[in-house]
Assembly symmetry: C3
Homo-oligomer: 159 residues x 3
Amino acid sequence: MRLGKATGTTAEERLGSLGLELPPPAKAVAAYEPWVISNSMLYTSGQLPWVAGDLRYKGKIGAALSADEGYLACQLATLNAIAQLKDALGPLEKVRRVVRIEGVLNVAPDFSETPAVLNGASHLVSEVFQERGRHTRMLYTNPQMPLDCACLIILWAEV
Amino acid sequence: MRLGKATGTTAEERLGSLGLELPPPAKAVAAYEPWVISNSMLYTSGQLPWVAGDLRYKGKIGAALSADEGYLACQLATLNAIAQLKDALGPLEKVRRVVRIEGVLNVAPDFSETPAVLNGASHLVSEVFQERGRHTRMLYTNPQMPLDCACLIILWAEV
Amino acid sequence: MRLGKATGTTAEERLGSLGLELPPPAKAVAAYEPWVISNSMLYTSGQLPWVAGDLRYKGKIGAALSADEGYLACQLATLNAIAQLKDALGPLEKVRRVVRIEGVLNVAPDFSETPAVLNGASHLVSEVFQERGRHTRMLYTNPQMPLDCACLIILWAEV
């Protein structure tokens, strides 16, 4: 479970070099905003692993989904989170630093590979933002997830 | 599950128009502070659905409590969080922006309406603070809650 | 469950007066940084209850571990978090304020003493940083923890 190495001089070129394309920013699933900027920090709300309005990864990692699928779910939800950064900022070069990733995982009892699964988020941020992508993170597991999604990802970015 | 529309020109008038009154700020249930301000951001600790020292909503939403009761629990815990803002700031007009709501819900297995339940927090913040109440949020579900409370709510407010 | 009273004029003297010594800062268990400073706030990643590379407290508090052991696990993970502050800052006197503790606990079903257990983190921060250690906090319980650790602790410090 390891995303390839990105090449290119901008975050968007590096995304392209990984074969990834930013989706349109997803609407919030309830009565809140997808992102807010305050005191030079951009916070997203929890982002789900959407592809064109379809929730691609549902169910528990370690049961309905493999660890590899969990990794890809985290990568996809993070791609959706980067789409929110773009919606907020325009050019992703305005990101000075990704400060924190918060990841909530939907896992089966006794599933023990959660840090490796959440690397699906960390690797993408690191490849896309390089030095500016060096982040802290917090990993949570929750028994019930919105829409039974496999994961929720939040990014904080200094802008 | 939808709070009514508030009227009035100040946050406190809008609270009153909803038939709500700020409770006294609750003490922390352990060795921490109910709020801290740092770098122009006010963070509350987790707020419970208290009414006059009585924990009004206990148990799991979707079992002991209905979804409607869960919505009201989130509204009530948020009212307690707004009481912390008032304790910190005096006039609520000093809130420049509610930046983030963190909600932890105590739910039964397979309960799937968590985003709608947490709207109990989001709707109250939106009605009371209007444009300044447009917030991001993160929803968690946890298997064991302090005092078996139905929910915990944290607010971040730029001040 | 109550840490003793610290004496001394600096944070490090007070740690010593409690019979505690800062461990070397632990490496992250996956693809992220142990700490980041942004806009004068230092955020750690989740810290585990390590002693010299050995995860001292594993399993569920209230089953494999007693409440007292859970308290000590939170204290130890917080000691590891303070070691990250020192790694970032050098002298701990550069901490202007500990703003927030986030604690995730690994607990047995029906274990109800979570706030007292997380006081293992709060008491240590309060004794070491005194007035500058007055913090907000958020307590989570999660069904699956990385490496089956008893707790994860994050500190935010204004620097």
